[in-house]
């Protein structure tokens, strides 16, 4: 586990810092994420994803969930309307993607969508920040990112790519 911390700690930390600006909160969140990584280590399947993608997925889930709950805290919603939605199962995944396959599939997206992907994934900008930078309406940014991700998935599926590793 110490090897795991040394290898993947910087990935988890760097990813979390993209979502959470406060340092102390980020540190607490990283501890929670590692607890979850250790619990879910047993579900890791190297034929589905690389170690860094697996850890990246858990990190993003927790960070997104953290932000979602934070945003919701001020207005405590009635229990009856609270939602419950399970985490998608890694075992059910069918589109492993290696770096080259991803790069190749990205080229099939429209230029505008590729630009939004770059701002979102590479530069770590939020949707409102992207809207401001590009001049696109916020809803359009959201829609293009979603549809781009779906198009990417569909392209990888139709290409029948079977190797799942990104960098490890």
């Amino acid at each position: 586990m110490n090897v795991c911390i040394n290898l993947y700690g910087p990935i988890v930390w760097t990813l979390v810092r993209r979502y959470v600006k406060d340092s102390a909160t980020s540190e607490d969140l990283v501890q929670e994420i590692f607890t979850e990584i250790w619990k879910k280590a047993a579900t890791y399947d190297p034929t589905v994803a690389s170690e860094s993608t697996f850890i990246g997925m858990i990190t993003r889930r927790r960070a997104i969930d953290f932000l979602r709950r934070q945003g919701r805290n001020p207005s405590f919603e009635p229990l009856e309307v609270a939602d419950s939605f399970p985490d998608p199962a890694l075992e059910a995944s069918s589109i492993p993607c290696d770096t080259e396959a991803l790069k190749s599939s990205l080229k099939t997206l429209p230029e505008e969508t590729r630009q939004l992907f770059h701002l979102f994934f590479d530069d770590g900008f939020t949707h409102p920040e992207i809207a401001e930078k590009t001049g696109l309406p916020l809803g359009t940014v959201k829609t293009l990112l979603r549809r781009g991700l779906l198009a990417l998935r569909d392209h990888l599926r139709s290409a029948g790519i079977t190797n799942t590793k990104t960098a490890s």
Partner: protein, 255 residues
Amino acid sequence: MNPSDSENRYNELLAGRALGDLTPDEERELALLSEQADIAPDADLELLAASLAVEPVLQRLEPMPAGLAARLHQKAAMIGHSGGSPIIYPQIPAWKNILLNPMIGWAAAAAILILSLVLTHTKAPLPPEQAAARLRSEDKDMIERKFEGLGEFKQAAGRVLWSDAQQRGFMILTGIPANDPRKAQYQLWIVDPTRDADAPVDGGVFDIPSNGSPVVVPIAAKLALSKPKAFVITLEHPGGVVKSKQEHLVALAKS
């Protein structure tokens, strides 16, 4: 909405979930569509998003703060030396893939933990009293407190057992009404005197089944604990909350 529209909308919401941009209304819509379609979402979109997010991060990694790394190593040491846990943990569906590929980096990193988990989980869980005796024998300084029901949950009772040395513990609970996990879940909070008194540590979310028998619930503390002073159970949204408003206090155990 015809079936094709529903499917498109469902996929769009799944993509939103993977991107982290769902509104609360959309989350509810996704849950509803998922129930109607009666299908479990796969992780394809999340894996894709993770791949796309991790790749650039690898090019500009920031080191973790030294203090955080030290705390993680400390926690790892505690978990690594706590083998033989008698309590119930989640199922392990795919561990064999890692054990069959010992040269894989992740497997090597996680092998010690996985092996201890596998050895633990292939055994049937011990009955509550045996589990308590075992934890007591492993840590003579183990903390043990009685739960008392609060407000409308006066019938709630039980005990909590916690080992600082092993950073693990569990609760044995009775008299707590069964919950519908789709509507609400119980959540444990732990007051650690070394931390901010207004921010108890999240001890994990759990459910109470309807069979009425004592329930053994492992404590899933999100942070390392030191001589906790109180354990509080609340009823919260499904999945729990980051900070409880304590509107539904269920039970309290304190020193």
